[in-house]
Subunit: 198 residues, 2 copies
């Protein structure tokens, strides 16, 4: 499917038919999500993949009973990663393979200073913003791969953390059920070009 | 260009060759950006399009002298819109044309309650997160349309506000110079699937 068609056809699916997305398609989706850019390439995200029916029922109750949550094939819970130091270490390993030693060291030093310059609250806001980049990749990639999705902020993060036993460094930020739609798209309503661009 | 190829070939272009993107291509880009989803469809973003050479030089100085800013064809300054009430009114106009009166009214009421429930700081964080969705659409659409882009947080928002004479309800959040690359992409470094998905 053409990129323009993907943008036009993607929509927030409110009901799925329960069919499972094949494993190969899921793997393709995951590889595409990984290609998302992020600030300093720090990729401050972790994505919990939920398939279990019982857990989905619990999350459904923690998502204002929205049917997407329990009718989807898989539920992707996008978490902001607050342990940026860990990501810097991960990146350091990769960079040291690809860059001259001095250059890799200087870059890592800059990342450490960047991380240290933020309060915990700033860190959370910064990481959460990056998560939305990966989320948009997900919505578009899903359509490209032949299935549907729904971006959702309507859920209770604390309950999600508890149900999924998430460590305190992971903050559930946005969730995306994926699967095959059992509803129909409505016409998109968008502000005009003149409203948005100036 | 295939969506997967777009994801693979897009990269943070650090130097452009100064060539201008034709007006028809820009218009296509803008239409695509408008198709981005957002929380409650509130589209809390405004995008300042900068083409003027002199203003780009001023913004260059407010962006740690990064050459993308002054060598690009156009600079898109993505602002978070804090005047959500205005966006609710805009949406109300569109909804009232497409939905039964009662349904449109109930939805608008819900939006007003949502907006009122947030502090100014929460509103800013919420709107800024949405901006990153539109930003990712932009990066991918640019590649699709045959040109390049660079997502940038490295700039001084207060100076941008002053140079561009932005009203206080618009918060410069991320900037994206677009144009034709004069550099070459480096291999992408990304965490493994096992690091990100769990």
């Amino acid at each position: 499917m053409d990129f323009k068609e993907i943008l036009e056809k993607r929509y927030a699916t409110k009901l799925f038919d329960g069919r499972k997305i094949p494993k190969e398609k899921l793997d393709e989706l995951f590889k595409m999500i990984l290609l998302s850019p992020s600030s300093y390439n720090l990729q401050p995200w972790k994505i919990k993949v939920v398939e279990d029916k019982k857990i989905k029922e619990e999350l459904f109750a923690a998502s204002y009973n929205q049917e997407q949550i329990r009718t989807c094939s898989h539920l992707l819970v996008f978490c902001a990663e607050l342990d940026i130091e860990k990501n810097i270490s991960l990146l350091e390993k990769e960079l040291s393979k690809k860059l001259p030693e001095q250059k890799a060291k200087a870059y890592v030093q800059m990342l450490k200073e960047f991380s240290a310059s933020m309060s915990e609250e700033q860190k959370k806001n910064w990481a959460q913003k990056q998560v939305y980049i990966a989320m948009q990749t997900t919505l578009l990639a899903a359509k490209y791969l032949g299935f549907d999705s729904c971006p959702m902020e309507g859920f209770e993060p604390e309950k999600y953390s508890k149900i999924l036993k998430l460590p305190p460094n992971l903050i559930p930020t946005v969730v995306v059920p994926i699967g095959y739609a059992a509803d129909k798209p409505k016409p998109k309503i968008r502000f005009s070009k003149e409203e948005v661009f100036f």
